[in-house]
């Protein structure tokens, strides 16, 4: 115990992987609650305007939504594989899987871009004349659609920035096979982004 203390004192390094993950889970919890507020608003207005939500949901492109779901789920897989590769001391493979995750994330955003611009080209965006001429429930549906998928998209972007940092860390050997809690935490964040989409997808594309 005593000897241990002295060596810690000299290096000033404090490492606690369990603590780091605990902190990350708490943070993910706050993220879930952040989105929780929006899901609550969605539930309230769906109850209030079931008919008009139905009409609006018919306009959604389910194929695009399904495609994006597949892309994000696959990116979660490559994320896990990257960590697994790191555990097996395979740095090269870990980098390859990180790059694939980043690639799939980009693909998701491109897809989202086309989807949004398709809606906008139809004149459906907050404050537009086409939207304002519709019924209240439809205005709210699209308002929530843009707000919720927009905030989710922002999280995808943040997640990708985090992953770029992880990529640099892996290349620099800052993340190694015996010290990869950063990579794990980044993975947890990426899965959160994924799981929120898993809930957004049925709410906006499948329930009609």
């Amino acid at each position: 115990m005593e000897a241990n203390n002295i060596s810690e004192h000299v290096t000033h390094r404090h490492r606690d992987d369990v603590g780091a993950k605990l902190g990350m889970w708490l943070f993910l919890f706050t993220e879930l609650l952040l989105f929780g507020g929006m899901f609550l608003a969605y539930a309230v207005y769906r109850m209030k305007y079931p008919q008009q939500f139905h009409i609006s949901a018919m306009e959604m492109n389910t194929t695009m939504g399904t495609l994006n779901t597949i892309i994000l789920l696959t990116s979660s897989l490559t994320m896990v594989l990257s960590i697994a590769a790191m555990q097996k001391r395979n740095k090269f493979l870990s980098i390859i899987f990180l790059l694939s995750t980043l690639f799939l994330g980009t693909l998701f955003l491109i897809n989202k871009y086309f989807e949004w611009s398709h809606e906008i080209s139809k004149g459906i965006y907050p404050g537009s004349e086409v939207l304002l001429s519709k019924q209240n429930g439809e205005i709210l549906y699209f308002g929530l659609y843009y707000a919720m998928t927009g905030l989710h998209g922002l999280h995808v972007i943040i997640g990708m920035i985090v992953l770029v940092f992880m990529l640099v860390f892996v290349i620099n050997d800052n993340i190694k096979w015996d010290d990869y809690v950063k990579l794990e935490n980044a993975g947890l964040y990426w899965h959160l982004v994924d799981i929120i989409w898993i809930f957004l997808f049925p709410l906006f594309y499948l329930i009609q």
Binding site: H14, T30, G143, A147
Partner: protein, 548 residues
């Protein structure tokens, strides 16, 4: 004391830092040492408190006579909004956890630092960013927000003032609060010294732990709510806009789901400090230690379920109103457990009524009045009469300023010797306590009467029959200004000219009193002894009136 003598040769954290630069401002604003961060918070928070006090003085001056006195109605709205935003988001929510929690949480559990020191520094930077945003809106065209600190829609969506700045500020401050919260939860779980089980932790740690959970669980809700208003103002998506089908009452629900638990973020850490001070100056273990510890968690849990008692007149269903009223009464129980156990702790104790203890006595008196009047507001029938009157203002200031604010001063006087290694003039400090009590009652008690007689809150004008009470209250505000000046001056004077403080001036038994004053960089030169029970005074029989 055996532990005190061993560390004379050591350097304090003022002389040894974590940054490359050894002195100057950079060694502070980039330091990851929890003690330096605590002091950074102290300086910033006290500065904003003083700004908040000055604004409050202007508000009281305006109310000295009916009609326009010094400012017009529009400016008056901005003033009380700014007063609320500054006092709530910049002073009282971060107040005790960010200053004294940061400084003493690791020391009291025998740790070298918090679990995430860099995150801790980031949360101070976020705090400053939020604060700067809130202050910037003062100087922009359009002026600061005039919505009240509650930002109720639809007015907050329609007004031309810079609401977005205030909203963004509150959002960022919330983020800072979340980071502090998750840091503290992780620290308590992971960094307790060997031998300190949960039920050997000081009650201050229990209170900070419960607070940290509220910060983690409740703050994201205000985050998303404020974000939605920003989106609403910028894009007009209609979520809270009744003309587009949105529901303003939904906003109120979301707002209070955070903002009610937030009042427990303000008061719980204060309650933790009270337990410390009462035990130390009664030389006795806290009566019902476990119940006091659990009551912190109960407050955190039940406090999450009472939000709609702010909305009894907003068109709730009768069932909902009755349920929320009942829950409000239930949340009073753990608070009462604490108050009764504190009083029971003093019974047959060896009471040494030094300055911090006197502050705590003021707290118990004022907080009890504030708490009981809270029940008057929690009852449905009386709330209809008193809702949105000065009764609410009085109640709120009794629990928040009389409660959390008083304990901010108490904690300052209790831990001042440990933080700065200096003693203050206790006679002047005592005079400060007495003056505080008198000016507090002069300032706020008339507001109960005003509210009972029907004066609505947030009005800049009033009927002539209310003037006497308003004048008394304004005089109280001047007395309060003098008191705060005296108390703050006394402490600043002590910083410069105070006697050197011993390691354990009060005879406390929690771990912070086992290290030097001020503590070394990693808090302890040698590992502290963990006592068998949290407040064990049996071995301190030698110290009866402080080891001066």
């Amino acid at each position: 004391m055996a532990n005190g003598t061993a560390v004379i040769a050591g350097k304090s954290f003022y002389e040894e830092g974590t940054t490359k630069s050894k002195s100057g401002i950079a060694s502070w604003i980039f330091s990851t040492d929890h003690k330096r961060i605590g002091l950074l918070y102290l300086i910033s928070i006290v500065s904003f408190f003083i700004i908040g006090v000055i604004i409050a003085e202007l508000i009281r001056l305006e109310l000295i006579a009916p009609g326009e006195t010094i400012v017009d109605a529009e400016t008056y709205n901005r003033l009380f909004t700014l007063h609320g935003v500054i006092m709530i988001f910049l002073f009282i929510i971060p107040g005790i956890p960010a200053v004294f929690g940061n400084f003493f949480l690791p020391i009291q559990i025998g740790a070298k630092d918090v679990a995430f020191p860099r995150l801790n520094l980031l949360s101070w930077w976020l705090y400053m960013t939020g604060a700067v945003l809130a202050i910037t809106s003062l100087f922009l065209p359009g002026g600061p927000a005039d919505t009240g600190w509650t930002f109720y829609v639809p007015y907050s969506v329609r007004t031309g003032s810079n609401v977005i700045f205030a909203l963004l500020a509150a959002f960022i401050l919330g983020f800072s609060s979340i980071l502090t919260g998750l840091n503290f939860v992780t620290t308590v779980h992971r960094l307790r010294i060997k031998g300190m089980s949960f039920f050997k932790m000081p009650l201050n740690i229990w209170a900070l732990y419960a607070t940290a959970w509220i910060q983690v669980i409740a703050t994201p809700i205000i985050g998303i709510t404020l974000l939605l208003i920003i989106i609403e103002r910028t894009f007009g998506v209609g979520i809270f806009d009744p003309t587009l089908g949105g529901d303003p009452v939904l906003y109120q629900h979301l707002f209070w789901i955070y903002s009610h638990p937030a009042v427990y973020v303000m008061i719980l850490p204060a309650m933790g400090v009270v337990s410390e001070i009462i035990a130390t100056f009664s030389r006795r273990t806290v009566f019902g230690y476990k119940m006091v510890a659990f009551s912190s968690l109960t407050i955190a849990f039940v406090g999450y379920l009472v939000w709609a008692h702010h909305m009894f007149t907003a068109g709730l269903s009768e069932t909902a109103a009755v349920v929320f009223s009942l829950l409000t009464f239930i949340v009073a129980i753990p608070s009462a457990i604490k108050v009764f156990n504190w009083v029971a702790t003093m019974y047959k104790g060896s009471i040494d009524p030094r300055t911090p203890f006197k502050w705590v006595m003021v707290f118990i008196f004022l907080f009890s009045i504030g708490g009981l009047t809270g029940l008057v507001l929690g009852s449905l029938a009386t709330d209809v009469h008193l809702h949105d009157t000065y009764f609410v203002v009085a109640h709120f200031h009794f629990v928040m300023f009389g409660g959390a604010g008083t304990i901010f001063f108490a904690a300052m006087h209790y831990w001042f010797p440990k933080m700065f290694g200096k003693m203050y003039n206790e006679k002047i400090a005592d005079i400060g306590v007495y003056m505080f009590l008198i000016s507090f009652l002069t300032l706020y008690f008339p507001m109960f009467l005003l509210g009972y007689n029907g004066q609505p809150r947030r009005y800049f004008d009033y009927l002539p029959q209310f003037q006497t009470l308003h004048v008394i209250s304004t005089i109280g505000a001047w007395m309060m200004l003098i008191t705060i000046t005296l108390v703050v001056w006394n402490l600043i004077h002590a910083l410069r000219k105070g006697e050197k403080a011993p390691d354990n001036p009060w005879g406390g038994v929690t771990l912070e009193w086992q290290t030097s004053s001020p503590p070394p960089l990693e808090n302890f030169e040698e590992m502290p002894n963990v006592p068998n029970e949290p407040y064990d005074f049996s071995h301190l029989t030698g110290i009866k009136d402080g080891s001066k």
